[in-house]
Subunit: 188 residues, 2 copies
């Protein structure tokens, strides 16, 4: 087979690129986040792995709320900047138009095509990263990002991330319908 | 701003497409899985959300091991099939060449460009989905999928998934370097 090791520190291929929104000492902060996934179907929850040293940790733990924002590729520089610079040193809020939903402490980014407002349900403490599971309380998008009543990834035009080569990517071509394409093998 | 709701049941844009490998009653089983992320940096752990009704749950809980395999786009039909059909009803192992690493109970797929062998560390029980956190014990790839010593996403050519429109996508163009592109804003 010719299999070789790629080590143990392997990442998802690819990771989604999101901006984690928190309120720290009453100020909105945004951190670039690729370690995020849906966790539970019903109620809908999301989990994210955040290094314990990050400024965002304070905001999540103080308010027990956070937001997940999906930037489009035209926000590449701003998105990357939010991963380069800590909210301890710089106020990142002026980069964006900030708005709030019903939770009031989960700042969201108006320029992002899609944002999720989350209420913290569970914190799992791991050696280097806390994993925060939050319930999706509401989502915010715009008509221009929908096809029918569903968000359309080609209209959102999100970024993808790979590590450790540290590169961003866009979404490519439609490849097939899920829960459908495999039916060809079902008949065999 | 013209923001509207996209409901509460919103998914990642996009999700990675993986095949979750487990051994159930001594037989390899593979399930399509998009709810997966890195959780901790050091030691390297991965977490995945799996519906409690899935056959894979038995394998993970029996052996406390699992694998995460990244299929390339040319495995689209096989990958989708593994999400359509339960291991309770069909033996999916003959679709692939199966191999094992040191854990011996985490079956991997030779045709996948990249596979991770994981040891279960923690189970978080949620209302509909268990979230399994496992340590990455080893990874397996091939020389043809690397650039330098790092996996290259364009060589792996993985699939992406969007829900609820249920569509697969490929990875598009390089968009920029991470922890770099944002430096242009740092000077301001």
């Amino acid at each position: 087979m010719g299999k070789i090791s790629a080590g143990r520190n392997v990442f998802m291929y690819p990771m989604p690129v999101t901006l984690l929104g928190t309120l720290v000492d009453g100020k909105p902060d945004f951190m670039t986040l690729g370690w995020v996934t849906r966790v539970n179907a019903n109620p809908p929850t999301i989990g994210c792995g955040v290094g314990r040293h990050h400024h965002s940790v304070r905001g999540i733990e103080e308010n027990r709320t956070f937001s997940i924002n999906f930037p489009s590729a035209d926000l590449l520089a701003e998105t990357d900047y939010c991963g380069l610079v800590s909210g301890k040193d710089k106020d990142k809020a002026p980069l964006f138009e900030v708005y709030y939903g019903e939770l009031e402490t989960a700042p969201m980014i108006a320029e992002c095509p899609l944002s999720l407002e989350c209420r913290l349900e569970l914190t799992i403490e791991n050696p280097t990263n806390n994993f925060y599971i939050g319930e999706i309380i509401a989502s915010f998008t715009e008509e221009q990002y929908l096809t029918g009543d569903m968000p359309d990834i080609k209209k959102i035009n999100p970024l993808l991330l790979t590590m450790p080569d540290n590169r961003y990517w866009t979404v490519g071509n439609f490849a097939g319908d899920a829960w459908s394409t495999g039916k060809t093998l079902k008949k065999k």
